[in-house]
């Protein structure tokens, strides 16, 4: 797969609307004749009502025209639930509703972040409405937020606008207890050189003008692999088949064997007779490193204009050498030259990329001076944050054989994209490269074999064995969250009880302890239990004979959250976290001993999927639902928390009292 990758994150609520199962709610055809289309429900009518108003969170004014919708997971009839357009005073009325204790009321309007009943901040958790037969729940207030905007203009050294170049925002996120720079939305400039990145959550951002010098081989077939990422916006290069030219032919020959692909980055000056020149990537305001970049503070409704860039060509060098090691075919392996310190970022941040020739040689064209890390790995993984779809500028010539996307439990608004690279197989490379004013030649890149992790699965007691129909993944995740290590997994099916995880880079990994319908009780390697400490592959050798013992005895903690007056603490956030402070960081992306839940309208909560251990449980304001990713919050929460011991198979009840946790 090639070309533009669009990653979008949809709220899970969307999935609540399943296709109607056959035969549950017959639709009775009405007698003949036509009736005017109406918004009434033809089935599943009830006697409840929910009414309220939609307002702009900043101005307090009603938002007429907003679309208000209902969600309920307990309503099993599968019928789509009604939607209402808010009237000129922002009001909405849902009538004839069947009883349910978990209605969510959402609202959406163009240019606003989606709101929901009970949501107190953008992106925060939604509350629930319990509706009994005949009950009228009134004055449901939904606030919609206008988020922030950063915009600017890109010009070149002659102050002419630069069209179709990619600009991206970056922000820091805490993952597994460590800060990471993560990329957000991308925009590309229009015919005036103007870009505009909207829908930014309140926070601190850095902005970069991307520029990748993508070298492809003269032998790279024209067309598909050269596909420009011009889909970022109209007006990028587009080949025109009607003229007889190849689609995506925006590349230039710099010598007989190499071509520079011009995609959504500035077209460099022609090499001419003098020194080649390139437009380097830059952070606002015109600096080369993110350390020197200005941090822009975005608040609700911020419209930050004038975040402008001027592209200036700098002398560029050619970096060439050969790859050594690796047992297989090296042709078309993609090498990426990442700016030092930005190795963990994704497509579009590379200073340069190139493809290895069949004889093992490689050349990066047009590399600006700087300190870089040359990176090659079997799968490229990166994080991104933010709503909606992000189109990532893939390097020209990259051929991927598989793409997976997902979200990180360890960082609630961060998603990941993992692209398995077609060429290269089971090797990796990572080494510093320093580029000055002259060409770098004779660089030797040593391809290192990746590590295999293998073993077997043991079943505790009378734990059910897998059947032919079971299929699940055993996944390991970088303990400190580093996306550059990537995740690797073994697909286990057909009743197998052995596993091999291939393509693992040296490092320390956490186990995701949810394994299909089982839970990992322990993982033992070389006589040591590595369940908590993680698996260390940094010695570079294969890891064999790991014994993973699993159980099917699930654990669930339930209860009721109340405020200090004993009233149900509806929509509060209930958090379970481990007592052991060593577990507050380095837990990978899917910590099995952290769980949060939103208390329902009656204050009740459920925390399923926990693993055995000692826990603290605390109820806090909904706004702090994601605060557990910060160890300082956990420290502050301990005095307010209730201690619970959970063993396999436990279904315990523990009521909690809403606490005010203040992080200093």
């Amino acid at each position: 797969m090639r070309g533009i990758v669009t990653v979008s994150f949809a709220a899970v609520a969307v999935l609540a609307l399943v296709a109607r199962p056959a035969g549950q709610t017959p639709v009775v055809a009405r007698p003949g004749g036509t009736t005017a289309g109406s918004s009434g429900q033809s089935a599943a009518s009830g006697t409840g009502a929910i009414t309220g108003v939609v307002t702009d969170a900043t101005t307090g004014q009603p938002v007429p025209g907003a679309v208000v919708y209902l969600l309920s997971t307990s309503r099993r009839d599968g019928l789509p639930m009604p939607r209402m357009v808010a009237d000129p005073r922002g009001r909405f009325v849902f009538r004839d509703l069947p009883a349910a204790d978990d209605y969510q009321v959402g609202a959406s309007h163009f240019g606003y972040e989606r709101g929901a009943y009970g949501r107190t901040e953008p992106g925060g958790p939604a509350g629930q409405v319990a509706l009994a037969d005949g009950q009228w729940v009134r004055d449901v207030s939904i606030r919609l937020w206008k988020l922030g905007v950063i915009s600017g203009r890109v010009v070149d050294e002659r102050n002419e606008p630069v069209v179709g170049v990619a600009v991206r925002v970056f922000a820091t996120r805490s993952i597994a207890g460590r800060p990471y720079l993560v990329g957000g939305s991308v925009d590309s400039t229009d015919d005036r050189g103007v870009y505009r990145i909207a829908n930014l959550q309140p926070g601190r951002y850095q902005v970069a003008l991307l520029s990748v010098q993508s070298t492809i081989l003269a032998s790279t077939p024209e067309g598909a692999p050269l596909r420009p990422i011009g889909g970022l916006a109209s007006g990028g290069y587009s080949g025109n088949a009607r003229l007889g030219g190849a689609v995506g032919d925006a590349s230039v020959n710099l010598d007989d064997r190499h071509r520079l692909a011009i995609t959504n980055f500035g077209t460099p000056p022609p090499p001419g007779d003098g020194t080649p020149r390139a437009y380097p990537a830059q952070f606002y305001p015109g600096v080369r490193t993110h350390e020197a970049a200005e941090t822009l503070v975005v608040e609700l409704g911020t419209d930050r204009t004038g975040v402008d860039f001027q592209m200036r060509p700098v002398p560029a060098a050619r970096v060439s050498g050969r790859v050594e090691g690796g047992s297989g075919e090296v042709a078309n392996i993609m090498l990426r030259l990442m700016p030092e310190g930005l190795e963990r970022l994704d497509f579009g941040v590379e200073a340069a990329t190139t493809l290895v020739e069949p004889d093992g040689s490689f050349t990066f064209l047009n590399v600006p001076a700087g300190a870089y890390t040359l990176v090659m790995q079997p799968a490229i993984m990166a994080f991104s944050f933010g709503p909606g779809s992000i189109r990532l500028p893939e390097p020209a010539g990259l051929v991927t054989s598989g793409i997976s996307v997902g979200s990180l439990r360890a960082a609630p608004d961060v998603g990941y994209l993992r692209s398995t690279v077609e060429h290269g197989g089971d090797v990796w490379a990572r080494q510093p490269v320093s580029v000055g004013s002259s060409d770098v030649t004779g660089l030797v890149v040593r391809l290192q074999p990746t590590v295999k992790v293998s073993g077997r699965i043991a079943f505790d007691g009378d734990t059910a064995r897998p059947t032919e129909r079971d299929a699940f993944r055993l996944a390991i995740e970088p303990a400190d969250g580093d996306p550059a290590l990537g995740t690797s997994s073994a697909f286990i099916r057909n009743g197998e009880t052995t596993f091999t995880i291939e393509g693992v880079l040296p490092g320390r990994y956490a186990l995701n302890r949810q394994l299909g319908r089982w839970y990992i009780m322990s993982a033992v390697w070389n006589g040591r239990d590595i369940t908590a400490s993680g698996l260390d592959t940094s010695t570079g050798g294969d890891v064999t004979d790991v014994v993973i013992t699993v159980t099917d005895k699930a654990i669930e903690l339930g209860g009721v959250a109340r405020d200090r007056q004993g009233q149900p603490a509806a929509a509060s956030a209930v958090i379970a976290f481990p007592v052991d402070r060593a577990r507050w960081t380095s837990y990978g992306w899917s910590p099995n001993d952290f769980r949060t839940a939103t208390a329902g309208a009656t204050g009740s909560f459920r925390l399923p999927y926990l693993v055995a251990g000692e826990y603290y449980v605390v109820a806090v304001d909904a706004a702090q639902a994601d605060a557990w990713t910060d160890p300082r919050f956990l420290e502050a929460a301990v005095p307010h928390a209730t201690r619970v011991t959970l063993d396999w198979g436990d279904h315990k009840t523990q009521d909690v009292v809403l606490a005010e946790v203040v992080v200093r």
């Binding site: 609307l17 163009f110 003269a218 009607r242």
Partner: protein
């Protein structure tokens, strides 16, 4: 914890269908790019070529940082260069041959050397060994810009709505071209949109807002809300388990967002037509999004014995191919029948629809109530059962529809190789016969409710040349043959006759109750017309178009293979290949819009100025022409 689900959409996946568009009949006569070769050696030679890229207009100015691409049959790979600050470019060490030279720059329209207007075919350049061709001037046109603001019914800007500049094109099939897909943007947070790099032409501007979630959407007025709240106030709390209270206030009308065209109409026919010339910026295209009344369509699906069919998918598809400016990839709302075979599809905007159900026969199992679809599969295999009904939705609910399934139709035939010099391919089994429906009905597949194509699953050809498509739905189809390594082999698809008519000329009509028996003939005898064009003074005339079109008017029409045009090379040579045998009219034109060839009235105008030329089977007619005399 807020669980999140990530959805991956591959934008390029959607493009597959777009690029399947049939090629324009107006071709620059340059073959396509070469395939990958393990023993790659770049071509090189002793010729050179250089020139300058300038803007169009009375005072041309150099265009810097344009990418100039030289491609041609004997050049592997094609060459690319960046223009310098004076707009200059140069290619060295070129082999002799014929080349096409193009220039591209963002916000400009990719243009070919010799093109008279943007996005028109250029003139091929011929180079001999050692030749140094200098001072070529390549004109590059700045694309047009359409900009405006989108608002809601309250006059407030609406953000995040897709807006497209849609060009009226009348291709032979309702298939978008690659060019169109580049014309979409999304309104920014101020409701503004700006679409740039547009080819000259006539456009309408369409916004396509959508609402979250599904389900009927009510749009009560302020008075409606007052009345409903008042009724709730007056209602006594109902005892638990009591019957629903009758509402004395009717439900508000059901509505949904609809695509909206500038100046604020849901109808493409009423949209403002904006004509853009190269480099023109049209601002102030402000308009409002629309909500329109929607309806619910309900009915049942039964089998041929009248028993309800449980669990079959029912889709509501556009009833006719989209007209000019209308969306070409419509949403297809769908539902699945319940235990009684009943279905209900809500939020249907007004329009002409075809309500459509189908399942493979072997997917149907029997329940107590009747046949049930046991396993839905997207594969179109086995005997297909289908039913459809055309309906017009006007904002009123449509209840009581009955769809009775009936078996699909059979198209069979054989592939014949009629060779004089070539021997037929030994293995015919890699050939595929492909039918493409004129409308979206015949073979429409759906992914996530979006019509993905109009191609019937291709039929494999048996070793003896026979083939069978067992499950074809009534429609008119375009027939083609793929695979078998026939491209470039010298074999040419000459005819596909069924019922005495050639499907390659007139399409393959399949009507209910009928089927078709098709004889597909490949030949190695190519017929065509070639020659040289000269001006009155005897110089090569390359700055014109040569068109050959059938003398018999019944062959005229969109996409006809008997209407072809080319531009001569710089040396005046032209060649029109693979014309079916017959009487042709040959003419020359100074400039033409390719779409004009679809218009019989335009061809009629050419008749008096054309030469009549019979072309026999296998005949390579040579006809030199002199123009401007």
């Amino acid at each position: 914890m807020r669980a999140r689900v990530a959805v991956l959409t591959l934008a390029c996946g959607a493009m597959v269908w777009f690029t399947a568009a049939p090629g324009s009949r107006l071709r620059a006569s340059t073959p396509q790019t070469p395939a990958r070769d393990a023993t790659f050696q770049p071509t090189s030679g002793t010729a050179s070529l250089s020139g300058v890229v300038v803007t169009d207009g009375d005072t041309p100015t150099p265009v810097r940082r344009a990418i100039v691409t030289l491609s041609g049959d004997g050049l592997r790979p094609s060459r690319g260069a960046i223009t310098d600050d004076d707009g200059r470019f140069a290619f060295e060490r070129l082999p002799a041959g014929r080349f096409i030279l193009t220039a591209a720059r963002p916000a400009f329209i990719t243009s070919a050397y010799g093109a008279k207007r943007p996005n028109r075919p250029g003139t091929a350049i011929t180079l001999s060994d050692g030749q140094a061709l200098a001072d070529l001037t390549l004109r590059l046109w700045r694309g047009g810009v359409l900009a405006g603001t989108l608002r809601d019914e309250f006059g407030r800007p609406v953000a995040g709505v897709p807006v497209e500049a849609v060009r009226a094109v009348t291709p032979p099939f309702p298939t978008p071209t690659l060019t169109l897909s580049n014309n979409g943007v999304t309104t920014d947070d101020a409701g503004e949109f700006r679409i740039f790099g547009l080819e000259p032409g006539t456009y309408v501007v369409r916004a396509s807002p959508s609402a979250p979630q599904t389900g009927t959407m009510g749009a009560p007025s302020e008075a409606d809300v007052d009345r409903m709240l008042d009724a709730l106030q007056r209602r006594a709390p109902a005892p638990i388990g009591s019957a629903p209270v009758q509402n004395d206030v009717p439900d508000p009308p059901a509505v949904d967002f609809a695509p909206s065209y500038h100046p604020g109409t849901p109808r493409a026919a009423q949209a403002t037509r904006v004509t853009v010339v190269a480099g023109q910026t049209v601002t102030g295209l402000d308009f409002s999004i629309q909500r329109i009344a929607t309806a619910t369509v309900e009915g049942r699906v039964i089998d041929d014995q009248g028993r309800p069919v449980v669990g079959i998918g029912v889709q509501l598809m556009p009833g006719a191919p989209p007209g000019p400016f209308e969306p070409r990839v419509p949403r297809a709302p769908s539902a699945t029948t319940d235990r009684e075979g009943a279905f209900s599809i809500s939020s249907i905007p007004p329009g002409e629809y075809r309500l459509f159900a189908r399942a493979a026969e072997r997917q149907l199992g029997l329940t107590e109530e009747g046949p049930a679809v046991t396993r839905m599969s997207s594969a179109m295999q086995g005997n297909l059962l289908w039913a459809y009904q055309d309906l017009a939705v006007t904002g009123n609910d449509v209840p009581g529809l009955v769809l009775r399934l009936q078996p699909a139709l059979r198209v069979a035939g054989r592939v014949v190789f009629d060779g004089q010099t070539l021997t037929p391919p030994e293995d015919l089994t890699s050939l595929r016969v492909v039918l493409r429906a004129d409308s979206v009905v015949g073979g429409a597949g759906f992914i996530n409710g979006v019509v993905q194509g109009n191609i019937v699953a291709p039929a494999s050809v048996a070793a003896d040349g026979t083939f069978e498509l067992p499950s074809v739905l009534p429609d008119t189809y375009r027939l083609s043959v793929t695979g078998g390594g026939l491209d470039g082999s010298g074999w040419w698809l000459a005819s596909a006759t069924a019922g005495g008519r050639d499907a390659l000329d007139f399409g393959l009509p399949i009507t209910p109750g009928g089927g078709a028996d098709v004889v597909i003939t490949f030949t190695d005898r190519h017929s065509g017309i070639s020659g040289t064009l000269q001006t009155a003074s005897g110089d090569p005339a390359s700055n014109v178009f040569v068109v050959a079109f059938a003398a018999d008017r019944t062959f005229w029409g969109p996409g006809s293979r008997r209407v072809q045009a080319v531009r001569p090379d710089v040396d005046g040579h032209y060649a029109i290949a693979d014309l079916p045998p017959g009487d042709y009219l040959l003419g020359a034109l100074s400039d033409v819009d390719p779409e004009q060839f679809d218009d019989p009235a335009f061809l009629d105008q050419l008749v008096p100025a054309s030469i009549r030329l019979p072309v026999a089977a296998g005949e390579q007619k040579v006809q030199d022409l002199r123009v401007g005399g």
